[in-house]
């Protein structure tokens, strides 16, 4: 495995720690001194990388050696990191190792985090199987990884390395027609890239191993993950809208501008009725029949009737009383006048 030969004593303590974690070495107690870390580093990592470095010579035997080492690591990896076996705490620390800051792992969240870890564990799978070297087809998964890294800063570095490595890897794949040496050179270049071998690296190493076994990359079946990646979104929305469209490996066909064709005179073929009505319209449908129910209508009618009657009644009182009073006054006056007239003579 690729590691710069540097004096580990010059490394900072956090860096030593991350290196140790990356190599699956159990960390010493928190308060232990840097010396302890350095010793562990020398013991576990430098030895390993020393063995790996011999593979730089372009010698078939040495390549074999590296092959077997990769196999060991490959086998060691999944058994150590089978998410369903891990305890909650272990799962969380493992996720943290991959730069995912996991929340509390409880019954309802555990399965999600398990899946997430699984996805992180095999990000390199599609690269093994995908036959074409089309970088933009991987943008999907890389986007996911990047969103993951937004939460955990420690992973950013290794992600950048990973991206770098992907580039290098494509470069190294360009001389496909030629065999061994050139491909191996690409491999060596990429392997000098960083001192931080994460599981990404281990996966990438297996890719390199495949290239080194001279297996033709054009023949490898381009099925599995990457087809799945495209299929998944298609089944969700696009398949609903364009059920008759066959999912193509490039995924480009899914975004063709079908509606324009449909609008140009031909009957539109994709099924509108299946388009789920928006919650708004559903609500309106539900509301409309009882927008003004009968009893409300009657109630309103009675209320209005009562109001009118009350107004009328009060009007009547207001109008009637003054008149009555006025008439009374008038009659009283005439009576008193009559009385006074009678009394005068």
């Amino acid at each position: 495995m690729p590691v710069f030969v540097e004096d580990p004593a010059q490394f900072s303590k956090p860096r030593l720690k991350s290196e140790l974690i990356a190599h699956n070495v159990t960390l010493p107690a928190v308060e232990s001194k840097k010396q302890v870390y350095v010793e562990l580093y020398l013991k576990h990592i430098v030895q390993k990388s020393a063995a790996d470095f011999s593979s730089d010579e372009e010698d078939d035997d040495v390549v074999e050696v590296q092959d077997s080492q990769d196999f060991e690591e490959e086998e060691k990896d999944p058994e150590m990191l089978d998410p369903s076996v891990l305890t909650d705490d272990k799962l969380k620390t493992t996720l943290l190792k991959y730069g995912v800051e996991a929340g509390p792992i409880v019954a309802t969240t555990r399965s999600i985090y398990e899946r997430k870890l699984q996805r992180l564990l095999k990000p390199a799978q599609p690269r093994q199987n995908g036959g074409t070297g089309d970088a933009d087809q991987y943008s999907d998964s890389e986007g996911e990884e990047e969103t993951g890294s937004q939460q955990g800063s420690p992973e950013t570095v290794s992600l950048m390395e990973e991206n770098l490595h992907v580039d290098m890897w494509f470069e190294s794949r360009i001389p496909l027609s030629s065999s061994g040496p050139e491909i191996k050179r690409g491999n060596n270049r990429s392997s000098n890239q960083g001192p931080c071998p994460r599981p990404y690296w281990q996966e990438a190493a297996t890719v390199d191993k495949y290239t080194m076994t001279n297996r033709s990359l054009f023949i490898t079946p381009k099925t599995s993950l990457f087809k799945r990646q495209i299929k998944e979104p298609v089944t969700d929305v696009l398949m609903e809208m364009f059920p008759e469209t066959e999912p193509t490996p490039t995924g480009i066909a899914a975004t063709r501008r079908r509606p324009i064709k449909g609008a140009a005179g031909r009957p539109v073929q994709f099924k509108y009725p299946d388009l789920p009505a928006s919650p708004m319209t559903l609500q309106r449908w539900a509301v409309e029949p009882r927008l003004v129910p009968l009893w409300v209508q009657i109630l309103v009618f009675f209320i209005v009737a009562c109001l009118l009657y009350l107004i009328y009644a009060s009007m009547e009182d207001g109008l009637a009383n003054p008149f009555v009073a006025l008439l009374d006054n008038l009659s009283m006056e005439t009576e008193t006048e009559g009385l006074s007239l009678q009394a005068e003579p």
């Binding site: 929340g103 509390p104 309802t108 969240t109 997430k116 996911e144 929305v237 919650p279």
Partner: protein
């Protein structure tokens, strides 16, 4: 998603209080029933799950798709609605 539905705006406009799970945008009757069967009968319970996943929209949509069988659009709509609610009320 460029525009938001009326349901989304209604939900984001005020504290969720005791609203049923179907008040969440993207959760209709069918999805609501499935969620209720699993104990997520109120919008705040779903909010709890959202918060447990550290407001990670990606994980939350995945969870919602798993639990209720929502499609991507509905799940994204629900997650967006909860995110905006959290932005204004949390």
């Amino acid at each position: 998603m460029s525009t938001t539905s009326q349901k989304h705006r209604d939900f984001v406009a005020e504290p969720m209080g005791d609203k049923p799970v179907t008040a969440l945008s993207g959760i209709g009757e069918v999805l609501g029933n499935k969620l209720e069967e699993q104990g997520f009968d109120r919008a705040f319970v779903v909010l709890g799950q959202y918060l447990l996943l550290r407001k990670d929209g990606e994980l939350f949509t995945e969870w919602l798709k798993d639990t209720s069988g929502a499609n991507t659009r509905n799940a994204t709509s629900c997650s967006q609605c909860l995110r905006e609610w959290c932005d204004s009320f949390l």
